[in-house]
Each structure stands twice: as structure tokens, then as C-alpha cells.
């Protein structure tokens, strides 16, 4: 970055547009969908719009790959494209693609006809992508709002179901509540350091003892972000929202926005060098793991169960934040990727299985799935095993990296809590497997054959889960490159 060049520059250079290329691509496709929607016959629009959205997300993936060749800052230090943000861009866009594939069938079965659905997913993804590349708090805030507001709406998309709109309103109100905290934190951080640029804040905070105001600011920002990643004690919205929201959307919002918020958290904690957060993270991690796992033990609704599981996983992930950046950052990044792969996959199965009006989402409904649809059951089993953390699935290495980072930082206590928790957690995932294979179906659950789109989505998640479990090295190596950028 050359300050002199920066000063004279009045309009962004071409390469800077490349640095927001995935966002641009996603926005364009989002808008295309918006424009196409009213022009098309309602009945056939779903397919076409979905395909457009898929193409958009694939194009965004391509754009991400292209973008990775052009690292650097852009738009007057607003965005920073480096391996870190590329990683998350790739993650978010991939998840978007898979969720879109999952949604084809789901939308038809639920008889939801709204082209806006895909538009919202794509535009929401813009926010998530931006969150990971933004290095300015206000931009982060706006990006966060983009992703949040689109998910508020998406959560309420099953408008015929009372629980869906309830989920939406709960999510919306609490989400806005939390964003307000985050925003207040941004304001105070601005007050404490005179800047909202993460780099500049980092310089200030590194240069000497941080002003007390900065501590408060960080506290407030952590409240806001903690809410978004569903870390205890701010996890409380998760089960309700996950239960009410449409299944593919739950898969989406439990992974992509979360990953993006984790990216923000990483930037704030490591790049901005937020002081004094260690025990906060420690307690948050321990609480999240414990509460998530314990509360999940007795759940019957599978979506709700996975909601608690996502709280627990947020806890595992937070463990990485309490460690040293050298190991912690790659571990956390890997975890988000692995979690995304397995959770999106699991929700893809759930979406397929839920049936019209999401009637079949309780554990009992899964009885006999192993017999009825062995392949689907096997896939769900693998995703669940990955969530448990059985080797040769991504979930194992995710936990492995996190805990070994923790042990290298001598966080023995936290590691033990985490390890015990993952043992407890095994129980409720196992319950699903048990029900699928070992219980006889009480009523015949109608089950259509797996359509192509869903099949591709499932296969992609499965391949990703297994790939991360068998050859985690490349992904981890890539993630490790970010260490230099984030932790100087």
C-alpha cells in the first residue's frame, strides 16, 4: 500500500473492482433474479430462477478463485483481499451454491413460490463475503446487516407456518438488538481510537496501553458478534430460530453467516489486537460447549437438536480463539470450513426428509430411515459422525486442530472440557443414528426419490466432509498463510 498513490487517487482502479468481484457477481445475479421474477410465469419461475442463482453462485466461486490472484487493499482501505478473505469467500460462495441446490426441491415441496428467495440468498451472500474481506468497522457493520437482514427474511419464508414467522420476528428483534450493541461498540471504538479501520485500531491498541473506552467497545462488539455466532450466553435465540426457519435456510445461516462472523471476530481479536479477551473467550467457549451439548441431549426436534449442536460447535470454535494465533487462526478457519461442509449436508438431508410443511422433523420420524432409504441415511450418518468428530471426517480434524492448538497453548482445562463435551455430544448425534437404523418406523413417512440437485448438493457436502477428513493438509496450509496477515 502506497500512501502517496492513495492520496492522489480519486476513483478506484480496475484491480480494486476485482477485489470485490465475487460481491459484484453475486449482486448482479441477485438483481437479475429480481428483474426476472415478475416477468416469468409463476409456476416455472422457480426452476429458472434457481438455476440463475446457481450459476451466480458458481460464477462467484470462479470470481473468488480469480480474485485470489489479486491480493491487496481496495477502495481506500475498505477491503483487503488476502488468503484469509479468499478462504471465507470461497467458503461462503460454496455454501451458497450447495444451499441453492438443496432449495430446488424444498421450495417445490413446500409450495413456496417466490423468486426473491434466491435473490435474497445471493444478496445475503454479498454481505457475508464482504464481512470477511472488510477491514473497516462501518463496512463490516453494513455487511453484517446485509447478511442479517436477508437471513431474517429468509427465516420467515415459510409464511404459512406460524413458527416460521415467529422465528423470523424473534430473530429479527434479537438480531437487531444485538447489532445495536455491536454498533455501539463500533462507536465507542471510534471514540477510543479515532478510527474505524481495523489496521489503524490495531496500531493504536498495539502501541501502548489501550484506553478503557476501547475495552468497553470491545466488550460491546463481542456481545454483538457473540450473538451472531450463537456463543453462550448469547446463544439463546438459536434453537427457536432454527426450529422455525426453513430447513435449507437453517443450513445456510448456521454456516455461511457464522463463518463470516467468525472471520470478523478473528480480525477484531487478532488483527485489531483486542486486549484482555482471553478469559472471556475461555468462559464463553466452555459455556457454549457445555450448554449446547447438555441441552441437546433431550431434544426431539432434529432441527432444534442441531441448533444446540451448533451452539456447542461455536464453543469448540471459540477454543481456537483463546489460543495463540499461530495455531489458533488456521484451526478456527479449518473448523468453520469443516463445520460448514457437514452441517450443510445434514440440513440438506433434513430438508429433503421434512416433506410438505416440514411435517417430519422430529426424531421419531426418522425411525426406519435406514431401511427406507439406506443411501440417504448413510449420508446423514456420515455427516453426524463428522459432527461427533470421528476420524476421517472433517469434524475430526476440526476438533483435532483446535484442541491441539489449545494444548500447545497449555490450555489443558479448556481442552478437557472440550474433549468431555465432545464425548457427551456423541450421545445425541448417536440418537439420530440409532433411530434411523435401529427403530422401526411407526408411520410410513412419504419419501420421494432424491432429485438431481439435492443429490449434487449432498455429494458435494459429502466429498467436502470426507476430503477435509482424509486430506486436511492443503486446506490447513492455506489457512496458515493467513496467520501472517492477521497476527503481526
Amino acid at each position: 500500500m502506497n500512501p502517496a498513490a492513495d492520496a492522489v487517487q480519486t476513483i478506484p482502479q480496475g484491480v480494486e473492482y476485482i477485489r470485490i468481484l465475487p460481491e459484484i457477481v453475486l449482486s448482479i445475479f441477485g438483481m437479475i433474479i429480481m428483474l426476472l421474477d415478475p416477468l416469468m410465469d409463476e409456476r416455472r419461475s422457480q426452476r429458472t430462477l434457481g438455476s440463475v442463482a446457481l450459476v451466480g453462485s458458481l460464477a462467484a466461486i470462479a470470481a473468488t478463485l480469480y480474485q485470489s490472484q489479486h491480493p491487496g487493499l481496495g477502495f481506500w482501505n475498505m477491503v483487503n483481499v488476502d488468503s484469509f478473505s479468499t478462504f471465507f469467500h470461497f467458503l461462503v460462495t460454496s455454501v451458497t451454491a450447495v444451499v441453492i441446490l438443496t432449495s430446488y426441491e424444498y421450495m417445490e415441496v413446500q409450495q413456496i413460490r417466490a423468486g426473491e428467495y434466491y435473490g435474497l440468498i445471493l444478496l445475503g451472500a454479498v454481505g457475508m463475503c464482504l464481512m470477511s474481506s472488510a477491514v473497516e468497522l462501518v463496512l463490516i457493520f453494513i455487511a453484517l446487516e446485509i447478511s442479517s437482514i436477508s437471513t431474517y427474511i429468509l427465516a420467515g419464508f415459510r409464511r404459512r407456518a406460524a413458527i416460521s414467522s415467529e422465528a423470523s420476528v424473534k430473530y429479527f428483534l434479537l438480531g437487531s438488538f444485538a447489532t445495536a450493541f455491536f454498533l455501539y461498540g463500533v462507536a465507542l471504538m471510534f471514540g477510543a481510537t479515532g478510527s474505524t479501520s481495523i489496521t489503524a485500531i490495531g496500531q493504536v491498541l498495539r502501541s501502548g496501553p489501550a484506553p478503557l473506552l476501547a475495552y468497553v467497545a470491545i466488550a460491546l462488539m463481542l456481545v454483538g458478534l457473540g450473538f451472531k455466532i450463537a456463543a453462550a450466553p448469547f446463544h439463546i435465540w438459536t434453537p427457536d430460530v432454527y426450529e422455525g426457519a426453513p430447513a435449507p435456510i437453517v443450513g445456510f445461516m448456521s454456516t455461511a453467516p457464522k463463518a463470516a462472523v467468525f472471520a470478523v471476530l478473528l480480525r477484531i481479536l487478532f488483527e485489531a489486537h483486542a486486549p484482555g479477551t482471553f478469559w472471556l473467550i475461555w468462559v464463553g467457549a466452555a459455556l457454549s460447549m457445555t450448554i449446547g451439548n447438555i441441552a441437546a441431549l433431550v431434544q426431539h426436534n432434529i432441527k432444534r437438536l442441531l441448533a444446540y449442536s451448533s451452539i456447542a460447535h461455536a464453543g469448540y470454535l471459540l477454543v481456537a480463539f483463546a489460543t495463540l494465533p499461530n495455531n489458533g487462526i488456521p484451526a478456527a478457519m479449518f473448523y468453520t470450513a469443516a463445520y460448514a461442509a457437514m452441517n450443510v449436508g445434514a440440513f440438506a438431508v433434513i430438508s429433503h426428509f421434512a416433506g410438505a410443511g416440514e411435517r417430519y422433523v422430529t426424531l421419531e420420524d426418522y425411525a426406519g430411515l435406514g431401511r427406507q432409504s439406506p443411501l440417504l441415511a448413510a449420508m446423514l450418518t456420515i455427516f453426524l459422525l463428522s459432527l461427533i468428530g470421528i476420524p476421517v471426517t472433517g469434524g475430526f480434524f476440526a476438533k483435532f486442530y483446535v484442541f491441539s492448538a489449545a494444548l500447545q497453548a497449555n490450555l489443558v482445562g479448556l481442552t478437557i472440557i472440550g474433549v468431555l463435551n465432545s464425548a457427551v455430544g456423541a450421545y445425541y448425534y448417536l440418537r439420530i443414528i440409532v433411530v434411523m437404523y435401529m427403530r422401526e418406523a411407526r408411520e410410513e413417512v412419504p419419501l420421494s426419490s432424491v432429485p438431481l440437485g439435492l443429490g449434487v448438493a449432498l455429494t458435494a457436502s459429502l466429498v467436502a466432509t470426507i476430503y477435509l477428513g482424509v486430506l486436511p493438509g492443503r486446506v490447513l496450509d492455506y489457512a496458515s498463510q493467513s496467520v501472517a496477515a492477521l497476527a503481526r
Binding site: 406460524a162 414467522s165 423470523s168 424473534k170 428483534l173 454498533l183 462507536a187 471510534f190 471514540g191 422455525g244
Partner: protein, 100 residues
């Protein structure tokens, strides 16, 4: 001359009032208004800090917040309408199908 911290405290009070409103009000619309109140409080902080740092960017942020608030308001009120359609109530205490 007025200490900047007065402004800050005022903003803090507004924020706290917003939080309190969220906690004690039953009507969803009023709760949403409380959130707007919180955002307004934050805005005051931005402006006050802008004055402190002599940085106009602080004022610029307020615009962004306003846009966000507007967008939120549009979406939020739409969601509230949707909820009202299915539940025929605006009392949050009655919007509790999802629990445990």
C-alpha cells in the same frame, strides 16, 4: 463549552432506555421502537466523537446507520405484519410457540 462526555452519557442513557424498552415492553412494534431508540443513541455517540476527534467520518457513519435503520424498519415492520397475520397478536409474550 460542554464536555463531550455529557453527550456521550446522554447517548448512553438513550441506549439504556432502548434496552429497557426491549425488556419491558410487550408490543412488538414498541419493542422495535426501542431498538430504534438504541440506534439513535449510538448515532449521538458517533456525532459526539466526531466532534472530539474532529473527524467528519463520524458524521458520515450516521448516514449509514440511518440507512440501515430504515432498511431494518422496512423489513422489521413487514415481519411484524407477517406475524400479525399468523398469530393475530402483537404481544411478544404470546409469540412463544417455539421454546425449550
Amino acid at each position: 463549552m460542554v464536555p463531550v462526555s455529557y453527550y456521550l452519557v446522554l447517548s448512553g442513557i438513550l441506549f439504556a432506555c432502548g434496552v429497557t424498552g426491549f425488556l419491558i415492553k410487550r408490543n412488538i412494534i414498541t419493542i422495535f421502537m426501542s431498538i430504534e431508540l438504541m440506534l439513535n443513541g449510538v448515532n449521538l455517540s458517533f456525532v459526539a466523537f466526531a466532534a472530539h476527534w474532529h473527524a467528519l467520518s463520524g458524521q458520515v457513519f450516521v448516514f449509514f446507520v440511518m440507512v440501515v435503520a430504515a432498511a431494518e424498519a422496512a423489513v422489521g415492520l413487514a415481519i411484524i405484519i407477517a406475524v400479525y397475520r399468523t398469530r393475530e397478536t402483537l404481544n411478544v409474550d404470546r409469540v412463544n410457540l417455539l421454546k425449550l
